[in-house]
Symmetry: C2
Subunit: 486 residues, 2 copies
């Protein structure tokens, strides 16, 4: 990041070239870094974030209008995430080491040679930072942490919503890199749409991570696919995060569900990729009345004018539908609750299952179980689908099956907005939730996006990477002849 | 495959629609099939291939001109491969089950909910069969076996080079499917370029596997990316499979290397995706003389006229270069050995590092170690790179590092044409070797291409898939709270 620009200007063509070339030059040394050094660098970034919280949080507040407690929690989550990836580096499980000894009697019909396989880093990763999590999905976020952990240099295309914070965090990352002796090109930061496109199409960039809108993400995905050498594009795009409430649950827990929904829709001014944007409840249930009773619910200010304008346009598309009415809210700084029927949504799916990125949701009333299931089965690719129910019965089983068929995460009696960073987390899903349904952008499996396997055939011990040597000097988990071994 | 066409005609538009819709209808039941039933179906296909070898092999010989021993070996490999995937289904490791218990003290700063994650099938897979392995990379080959093992219905776009064999094998697969009670749509077979494109762009198809030429594969990849809902495209395209021979090895083992090379170039008439197409030897080494002494080496007849014409065009592109000369062979039914210098290749990389799919290779002489390393570092994405050396020294280390940086499989003193089906195998690599560098099309990891993870949050035991229940009734391998457990 030697070339980091301190002004508000977009990164120039020459600067982008220099940053990408520095990343390309750093790729070999960083891929070859010792696990302890790589982990120390990730821990070093986490330590610096924590140590500088008192400066970073006010800066984030100014640039994003998010509240202090939310940003403090996000910063803690971000440094935790960096340390979790440092642990993964030391563990080595992500290398997926597989060793097949030579076997003259291998039943394939020909002797099996000695084959040893492990994952290696893909190369420089370009990371388009999100607007709504200035720490956790931005410069020091999960994409950066997992790519660095994989052994890839990272170039972050900073989000225009929080440039000063991005630069401040970038300086801390540079310090951590320098401390562990890695090349400066291991991390770079660029700004501007044209700079992002230039980096995306640079031959040295090997993979892309993106979190943002469906339209913006799809345009970049298309560019990645059209390169002479296409590269993996891990895009987390839009999601409605539908919630299906059974008749039982709507009756027995109407107040609790209404309160939970209002919190999920209004917190962080609804600017969460997992905000529930469609909630199906039975006709005549007490839920709408409970909602109307509690509303209007205040929300914070939105991230910036561009996000607010996009939200207004998306809301207008849904609200202007002749069969949609306002249930409550929608004044300045208030969450907006819209309402319609399942019949209307099923008849006009694309207009009404439409992401409104901000504090709004669409309450959908269904007449019977058949209509509820038809609605659940009409959903396209989603990050999350939630089911509220009281029992394991045919309806809840069918709802959960439909949910698993369309979403990366399926919740039971829980709201999707809390996204835990864990080993089993999955943040992704079929398109448009993600452009890569087999990948996750949150949780320890996120590291797998930036690796590719290499098999070494008949290579003698002294020429093998240490992770593949029989003596296993680094103690990495591995499978030997198809069986898990330590 | 109820709709399978018995004539030579291409599958019609209506037939393709019916086959894809049958696959979509089969997706749910096949995904929900018990592991024992799924394994029994794969074993059933293998048993039928073995039982019908006496009819299938002569049919394959007529349609492909490949020799009986080669086809007998390929059939054995193919049934072995199906049984290996049946074992994977029973093992369940590919599900990558991860269980995080609820943890109120999770250090992220917020309580961790109960999260349980496993891989589920993507849905119907379209498999473009290859010309050169009428069993192992065709209707009953690795893509079909791994997709069925993953729980995905498979539609094979049959290769036009062996339609009768494809249909005969398709009938055996249908029998195996019927025997295990799976829906008929679990397997479909279509013919014709237009039919393939129609299936590729059908909304119900969820992923594509392809083995073939770079031009053909890239065109289909582009179509997959441009769909309204893009889908993963696992294409194995072209590869040169360069071989780098050190000065030591060229001196000490010239005869052995020359013989090995001639076998690798001429067997199966050079129609192997792993045929070595460029071999670097030191200037003045005895290898060219050894080659010239042994040549001309007879090759079998080529697969078909289209392949022969493509080979002739590719050879002409290389041979017509003013700095390329014929070293030996090239008459009808003979392997062709071309020769040039490393300097020439480095000056005109794209013209000379050009796949010649057939019995030809380009011998490249280098002047010194610097030129050898420059050549090794100029290589683009490859399935394999081989290094022949006598010692672990700076040169061989640098060659192996360059090889790992560009290829999916790295060989030491071995020819790349034998491709073992094992746990640690990797058949893929950076583009154009593969359109998905993190995937393999051979070996047990090939199953991972057709899966996506789903995380279940706070779902009670009785509503979870059995693989995610605490008691682990199916005994699948899993990790619990980040640690491997049984």
């Amino acid at each position: 990041m030697t070339f980091m620009v301190e002004s508000d200007a977009d990164t120039t063509v020459d600067e982008v070239d220099a940053i990408v070339e520095a990343a390309a030059a750093a790729a070999g040394p960083w891929a070859a870094s010792e696990p302890v050094d790589r982990a120390r660098m990730l821990d070093g970034i986490a330590d610096r974030l924590d140590a500088h919280a008192a400066e970073l949080i006010p800066l984030a507040m100014r640039e994003t209008h998010l509240a202090e407690p939310r940003l403090a929690g996000e910063l803690k989550r971000t440094s935790f995430q960096l340390r979790l990836f440092a642990q993964q580096v030391l563990d080595g499980g992500f290398l997926d080491v597989r060793i097949d000894g030579a076997d003259a009697d291998w039943p394939m019909g020909a002797p099996r040679p000695d084959l040893r396989r492990m994952n290696i880093p893909l190369g420089p990763v370009l990371n388009f930072a999100a607007s709504n999590f200035p720490f956790a999905f931005s410069v020091p976020g999960g994409d950066t942490a997992s790519a660095l952990a994989a052994g890839c240099p990272v170039i972050v295309k900073g989000n225009p919503g929080h440039p000063a914070l991005s630069r401040a965090v970038g300086r801390l990352i540079d310090e951590a890199i320098a401390e562990c002796g890695a090349p400066g090109g291991t991390f770079g930061l660029i700004f501007g749409r044209a700079a992002g496109v230039q980096a995306l199409t640079h031959p040295a960039v090997a993979a892309v991570a993106f979190t943002g809108s469906t339209a913006g993400g799809r345009a970049l995905y298309d560019l990645a696919c059209r390169r002479p050498v296409p590269i993996p594009f891990y895009g987390e795009l839009g999601s409605i995060n539908p919630v299906f409430v059974t008749a039982d649950a709507a009756q027995s827990r109407a107040t609790e569900i209404a309160e939970g929904l209002l919190t999920a829709v209004s917190s962080s001014a609804g600017q969460l990729c997992t905000k529930p944007g469609l909630v199906a409840v039975p006709e005549g249930s007490p839920v709408p009345a409970e909602l109307a009773r509690t509303a209007p619910v205040p929300t914070g200010e939105m991230l910036n004018d561009a996000i607010a304008a996009g939200f207004a346009r998306a809301v207008e598309q849904v609200r202007s539908h002749p069969e949609v009415r306002v249930l409550a809210g929608g004044g300045p700084g208030e969450a907006l609750l819209l309402a319609t029927t399942a019949r209307t949504v099923l008849a006009d799916r694309d207009a009404l299952m439409h992401e409104m990125f901000g504090p709004a949701t669409l309450l959908v009333s269904y007449r019977d179980t058949a209509e509820l299931l038809a609605l659940a089965r009409s959903v396209h690719g989603e990050l999350t689908v939630s089911v509220f129910g009281d029992h394991a019965d045919d309806t809840t089983r069918a709802l959960l099956a439909a949910a698993a068929g369309t979403a990366g995460r399926v919740l039971w009696n829980a709201w999707p907005t809390g996204l835990s960073v864990t080993y089993a987390q999955q943040h992704g899903g079929p398109y448009p939730a993600s452009t890569a349904p087999s990948a996750t952008s949150v949780g320890t499996a996120a590291i797998m996006r930036f690796l590719r396997p290499v098999a070494f055939q008949s290579v003698p011990e002294e020429l093998l990477p240490p992770q593949l040597r029989t003596e296993n000097p680094l103690g990495v988990p591995r499978s030997v002849n198809g069986a898990r071994a330590q």
